[in-house]
C-alpha cells in the first residue's frame, strides 16, 4: 500500500515534468495529494468491478491495477497506450481491468457508473461500479439526478467524492452553500460517510464497509473523502487563488507522510519504507522511459474505431 501511494505520486511527478517540458499534449490534471483515496478504494475492488473516473483520474487507473507503462504511453499519446493514443489523460480506458472510462465533463461519469451497476444488477452479477468525482460535480444537475435514480433502483454503485475543496479554481465556500457532499445523501436515502481521505487506513476501512453494503444489495453508497489537491487544477496552474499558509498546511497533510508516520509508530523501520519508495521510483522511471520510446500512432489510422470495422468503417457521415 505504501508502494502504491508512491507509484502514483511519482507517476504524477513525471507527468508534471514532461507536461511542463511540452512532451505531453494537452493539459493533464494531477491527483498529487489525493493518492490515499485512489489506493484505499481501488485496492478493495475485484478485477471484475468497474470504475469510471474523472479528469483527475491517473491515480485511480494505476490503483486499479492497470499497466503503468501503457497508462503513461496513453498520456503521451502513443500507439502502445491504453487507448492507442485516442483518449489521453482525460479519457483513460482499460476495459479488461474494469477501468471503463474517464470523463472530462464534470459529473458526466456518475450516470455511466450507475448504468454499469444496473447492468450488473440486471444480469445477476455481484460486481459493483464506482464513480470518482470531485466536490465540484455536486453543482451539476446530473449528480442529483443520478443519486435519485441509483437510490430508487437500489443500484450497486459507490459514489466516491474526493472533496479537495476546489471546483477547478473556485473554493467550496464560493461554489456551494452545502459544506459536506455527504449531506446530499440523506434526502435520497443513500448510506454515506465523510472520512479523512488522506489517511489510508481510514479510507480502506470505509471502502470495505461501503463495498460490503453494496454487495449485500443494499443500494448505493456515497463516500465523501476529505482530501487536498497538492497541485494546481492542471499542470501550469499558478494557483494564485490559494494562500501560502494553505499550501504549507497541505504538505503537512500529505497522505504518504502520514502513512509513513503511522507505520513507523507500529515499528516499521524508516529504511524499509525508504527502500519501498526507491523501488517505486525505479519502476516509474522505467515505465516512463519505455513509454517515451514507444511508437507514435500511425496518422493513417485516424478514422479507425469511429464505428465498428469493417461494416461501418467506410462511413463518411
Amino acid at each position: 500500500m505504501y508502494a502504491a501511494l508512491w507509484r502514483i505520486r511519482l507517476f504524477e511527478g513525471q507527468v508534471q515534468r514532461l507536461a511542463a517540458a511540452g512532451e505531453i499534449p494537452g493539459f493533464p490534471h494531477l491527483s498529487t495529494g489525493q493518492e490515499a483515496v485512489a489506493v484505499g478504494v481501488c485496492t478493495q475492488l475485484e478485477r471484475e468491478d468497474v470504475l469510471f473516473t474523472s479528469h483527475r483520474g491517473h491515480g485511480h487507473v494505476l490503483a486499479k491495477g492497470s499497466d503503468m507503462e501503457a497508462t503513461f504511453a496513453e498520456i503521451l499519446g502513443r500507439q502502445t497506450g491504453l487507448c492507442g493514443g485516442r483518449g489521453g489523460s482525460m479519457h483513460l480506458v482499460d476495459a479488461a481491468n474494469g477501468v471503463l472510462g474517464a470523463t472530462g465533463v464534470v459529473a458526466g461519469n456518475l450516470s455511466l457508473a450507475a448504468g454499469a451497476a444496473w447492468a450488473a444488477q440486471a444480469q445477476g452479477r455481484e460486481n459493483i461500479s464506482v464513480a470518482f468525482f470531485g466536490d465540484g460535480a455536486t453543482g451539476a444537475g446530473a449528480f442529483h439526478e443520478t443519486l435519485n435514480l441509483a437510490a430508487l433502483w437500489r443500484l450497486p454503485v459507490l459514489f466516491v467524492c474526493e472533496n479537495n475543496g476546489y471546483a477547478e479554481f473556485t473554493s467550496r465556500e464560493e461554489h456551494s452553500n452545502v459544506k459536506h457532499v455527504s449531506s446530499f445523501a440523506a434526502p435520497y436515502g443513500i448510506a454515506t460517510q465523510t472520512i479523512d481521505g488522506n489517511d489510508l487506513p481510514t479510507v480502506i476501512a470505509a471502502a470495505r464497509e461501503a463495498i460490503a453494503t453494496l454487495r449485500r444489495g443494499a443500494g448505493p453508497y456515497l463516500l465523501e473523502c476529505m482530501t487536498f489537491r497538492m497541485a494546481g487544477h492542471y499542470v501550469g496552474d499558478s494557483q494564485q487563488y490559494r494562500s501560502k499558509e494553505e499550501l504549507a498546511e497541505i504538505r503537512d497533510k500529505c497522505p504518504i507522510e502520514r502513512l509513513k508516520r503511522h507505520l513507523m509508530e507500529r515499528g516499521v523501520k524508516a529504511e524499509e519504507l525508504d527502500a519501498i519508495g526507491e523501488r517505486a521510483k525505479v519502476e516509474v522511471l522505467r515505465a516512463v522511459e519505455r513509454a517515451r520510446a514507444a511508437p507514435r500512432p500511425d496518422p493513417a489510422t485516424v478514422l479507425d474505431h469511429v464505428y465498428r470495422a469493417p461494416a461501418l468503417a467506410a462511413i463518411r457521415g
Binding site: L112, A119, L149, H305, R308, A309, L312
Partner: protein, 325 residues
C-alpha cells in the same frame, strides 16, 4: 393485415425483447406504455425489470443507458420528445458517441435512443421540433428516421442489433399511419436508402414524414407530366450517397426536402455533397425545401404557414425543370 405505426413499433420491441435477454427498455412512463402507447403491455409480458419507468431525468437516464450498454445490456431508451434530448446532449455527444473511439475500440455502446419529433398540430415550440441535424454532426452516432410503419419495423430491429449508438427518430404525425407487415423479409441494412417511387425527371430526397409529403408531390407532378423519383433516406447518418448518386445521375436534378428549418439542416449537407460530387451531372442547382426560420407556433394557421407541404415541393420541382430549360 394493416397495423398502425405505433403497433408495429411495439411489435418490433416485443420481438427483440423475446429474442435477446440483453434488450431492456427504459424511459419516462414506458412501463405504463409511454406517452404515445408504443410500449403498452410490454412490461406485463417481459417483466418490470426489463421495461422500466424512470424519473424525469434525461441527463441521468441517457448516461444510465450508456453505462449499461458498455456492460452487456442492449438498452432501448425512450426520450419522449426529441426536444427533451437537449437534456441528454452531454452524454450523447461527449460520451455515448465517442466511447468506441476514445477507448481505441475497447468498448462499444449498443444503445438505441427512440424519440419522436416533428409538428403534428398544436404541440407548439417545445414539442414539435426536428433537431436531427444536431446529431448528424457527431461522429460515432447513427441517425435513423423511418417513413412508414413497415420501414420502422425493420429499421428498429436492425438498429437494436447493430451494436452502435443509434438515434431512432419517429415522426408523431406518422404514428396513426397504417401499413403492412410483410413476413419473412430480410431486415434492412442501416445506412441504405430506398427508392420510394421511381422516376426520371427530378430526384426528391426526403426522410421521415417528409417522404409521404414527397410522394404526394410526386403524384401531383406526374399529373403535370413530370416524373419525380423519391428517395427515402431511412438513415441520415450514415448517408447513402450511392443511391443518391445513381438517381441524380439519371434525373440530373435534385431537391432535398425536410421538415427541419433549412438553416444548417440535413439538406444543406446533402446539397453540398451533391454539388461537390455530382456537379457535372447537374442540369440545375440543388434546391431545398424546409421549415421557415421560426419556432413552431401553436395556432394551427400559423403552424401550417410555417411547415413545408407538398405544394412547396411541387413548386420547387417545377422551378428545377424550368431552370433546366
Amino acid at each position: 393485415m394493416q397495423h398502425t405505426f405505433i403497433e408495429i413499433l411495439r411489435r418490433a420491441l416485443d420481438e427483440e425483447l423475446a429474442r435477446d435477454p440483453a434488450v431492456h427498455l427504459l424511459g419516462e412512463d414506458v412501463a405504463a406504455g409511454g406517452a404515445f402507447g408504443v410500449t403498452r403491455g410490454l412490461a406485463d409480458k417481459h417483466g418490470a425489470a426489463r421495461v422500466r419507468n424512470t424519473p424525469i431525468s434525461e441527463a441521468a437516464i441517457t448516461g444510465l443507458a450508456t453505462g449499461a450498454a458498455l456492460c452487456g445490456l442492449k438498452p432501448v431508451l425512450e426520450i419522449m420528445f426529441i426536444d427533451f434530448a437537449t437534456l441528454s446532449m452531454d452524454c450523447l455527444v461527449n460520451q455515448t458517441a465517442k466511447y468506441r473511439y476514445m477507448s481505441g475500440g475497447q468498448l462499444a455502446v449498443p444503445l438505441v435512443v427512440r424519440t419522436q419529433a416533428g409538428a403534428a398540430g398544436g404541440a407548439a415550440a417545445q414539442h414539435s421540433q426536428s433537431l436531427e441535424a444536431w446529431f448528424i454532426h457527431v461522429p460515432g452516432l447513427i441517425v435513423v428516421a423511418p417513413s412508414t410503419p413497415g420501414e420502422a419495423y425493420g429499421l428498429l430491429k436492425s438498429a437494436i442489433r447493430l451494436g452502435e449508438p443509434v438515434l431512432f427518430i419517429e415522426h408523431k404525425r406518422l404514428y396513426t399511419m397504417k401499413g403492412e407487415l410483410v413476413p419473412g423479409v430480410d431486415l434492412p441494412s442501416i445506412g441504405r436508402a430506398r427508392i420510394a417511387r421511381p422516376g426520371t425527371d427530378v430526384t426528391v430526397i426526403a426522410y421521415s414524414a417528409m417522404v409521404q409529403t414527397a410522394l404526394e408531390a410526386a403524384q401531383s407532378l406526374a399529373d403535370a407530366g413530370i416524373s419525380a423519383e423519391v428517395i427515402d433516406l431511412r438513415t441520415l447518418l450514415p448517408l447513402d450517397m450511392a443511391t443518391i448518386t445513381a438517381s441524380v445521375s439519371k434525373t440530373h436534378r435534385a431537391l432535398v426536402a425536410h421538415e427541419a428549418v433549412l438553416n444548417g439542416g440535413a439538406g444543406a449537407e446533402i446539397a453540398a455533397r451533391i454539388g461537390a460530387e455530382l456537379f457535372d451531372e447537374l442540369d440545375a442547382p440543388v434546391l431545398r425545401v424546409g421549415c421557415g426560420f421560426a419556432p413552431i407556433p401553436f395556432a394551427p394557421e400559423l403552424e401550417r404557414a410555417l411547415l413545408p407541404g407538398s405544394a412547396d415541393l411541387v413548386r420547387a420541382a417545377r422551378e428545377l425543370m424550368n431552370l433546366a430549360g
